[in-house]
Amino acid sequence: MLIYSLKRLALAVLIVSVAMFLLFTMIYLIPGDPASVALGPRATEAMREALLVKMGLDQPVWIQFWNFFVNAWQGDLGTEILSNRPVFHVVMEQLPWTLALITGGMVWSIALGIPLGCWTAVKRGGLADRLIGVFSVAVIAVPSFVIAIYALLIFAVSLRWLPAIGAGDPGNLGDQLLHLILPSLAVGLGWVGYIARMVRASMLEVLEAPHIRTARAFGLPDRQITYRYALSIAILPTVTLLGVGIGQMLSSAVFAEIVFARPGVGKLVYDAILTRNFPLVSGAVLVTTALFIAINLVADLIVGYLDPRVRSRL
């Protein structure tokens, strides 16, 4: 287990490094140098030179990359152009909002997806199975920002059941949760479909296994066979899938934050693009990418822990 974990960790570090390299290449290719952008059109040539030296942009490319690389691993993503604050701090300030949104999306997708998948597997072939099947395909296909806007239109604007914009009063947890319902549904609804399909498929496979026949031959109650004996195995691939799911939810979160005018990393990046605040864009993208890779790593390790077969083999 330890060796396996270390190997996975090393691979994750390698992938983050390659991602850093790709990102650096992108920034480097941006036409116009960051110094002129930061200083505006009225800056003198001397001011520009000074800032270039300060930002280390007078060095050869490979030294620039090395500095970027070393600093990034130490959490130093440079300073933001507008307010001169460290990018890392600015991103970290917004991250909890995005994480709350994604957690909400996960809650929706797990709380609805697993029961739906399990139920349709047990009742396979019936009308409910087919309808839920179409529902799953549909919510996967429709883009999350369309779901977000229509959720806003229906539940907040027309019906006025739920608040439309913002993240709720600071310090008022109930209000904040109320503000989280619609955005997290928009982020998680597609994954309700994914998880329902995944759980259904792997339940059908597990229910055919010899040990399920043994359990039936021992006269165990159907409920126990379905949930304790079959679902506990069928759920394992879903945990791995959730790691991927969080990455997609990070994408959907960008839209949800903009539509519902919530604070968060997505809103931060969007605003940074509009103001051409490049260090902030690349810093935020790097943080979310590293987060995504880390979450996938954790998901894999959780599967390893949950499945005794994997746990001891590794």
Partner: protein, 292 residues
């Protein structure tokens, strides 16, 4: 290039007779109707509406849907029905061009990874994994900062997102076929690498790839609409469903029909292509179900 086109054509025409099987499935039939309707609307846009999609008419601002303006008008008095139909042209062309480009690049990279030396294979897999590890929208945002908002930027995003997956499939198939008997025997008879790839390996791996690519069409349409919604895709006043949706979102409290005009085509098109794609996959290659 022309070889690949001929190949694609052959695969498609071989399966054309199976259209009946698609229509036999309720979901496939529904999907086909939606897709055909959407394509027809886009192609015959100029015949179906008298309005110019970009003509501004200050007197007609925010008109509700009526017999004259089937879907109403937007904040600049432009006819939404016309904009929706012409937006379909944008969505379709982005999907076709960028998926074709992804396929071409993906196939080439996949063949190189699968047939080339081991170190190159490892390096490319690492690169693919790194690209895949960016959340899609984050990657798109990063690229837009690089290229500036444009249709080209959208297409580059799509290519970057799709190529790793396509290349991986071709690579896996190539690796499997490389050591198979008929390839070994072709090599032993002096066939060149290019010939082996073109005649033996490509035809055997292109089928599942085409099905996967067809299932990516709705995803690409969603990416285009999403980026245009953020104002990072097509430049105004070009009509795009995402842009219409953004116009509608800004005025959602007073004139909800604009948001409906922008969103409903996105929903119907992504659903139609997905239903059709799922049916095609189940019919032609049920094994892919597990992989997806």
């Amino acid at each position: 290039m022309s070889d690949i086109l001929i190949l694609v054509f052959e695969v498609v025409s071989k399966h054309l007779g199976s259209l009946r099987r698609v229509v036999a499935e309720p979901l496939g039939a529904v999907g086909l109707i939606m897709v055909v309707g959407m394509i027809a609307g886009a192609i015959f846009a100029d015949f179906l509406t008298a309005f110019e999609p970009t003509r501004i008419s200050p007197r007609d601002r925010f008109l509700e849907p009526s017999v004259v303006h089937l879907m109403g008008t937007d904040q600049l008095g432009r006819d939404l029905f016309s904009r929706v139909l012409h937006g379909g042209q944008i969505a379709l062309s982005v999907a076709l061009v960028s998926i074709a480009a992804s396929l071409l690049i993906g196939v080439i990279l996949g063949l190189i990874a699968g047939y080339g030396p081991r170190w190159l294979d490892n390096l490319m897999i690492l690169l693919f994994d790194a690209i895949k590890s960016f959340p899609t929208v984050m990657l798109a945002l990063a690229l837009v900062t690089l290229f500036g908002p444009s249709l080209t930027a959208v297409m580059i995003v799509v290519v970057l997102v799709n190529v790793p997956g396509y290349a991986r499939i071709i690579r896996t198939q190539t690796l499997a076929l490389k050591s198979s008997q008929f390839v070994t025997s072709a090599q032993s008879m002096g066939a060149s690498t290019a010939r082996v790839l073109r005649v033996h390996i490509l035809p055997n791996s292109i089928g599942p790839l085409l099905i996967l690519a067809s299932m990516d069409i709705p995803v690409v349409i969603a990416i285009e609409a999403g980026m245009s919604f953020l104002g990072l895709g097509v430049r105004p006043p070009t009509p795009s469903w995402g842009a219409i949706l953004n116009d509608g979102f800004t005025a959602i409290r007073d004139t909800p029909w604009i948001a409906i005009a922008g969103g409903v085509p996105i929903i119907l098109t992504t659903l139609g292509f997905t239903f059709l794609g799922e049916t095609l996959r189940d019919i032609f290659d049920p094994r892919l179900k597990r992989r997806a």
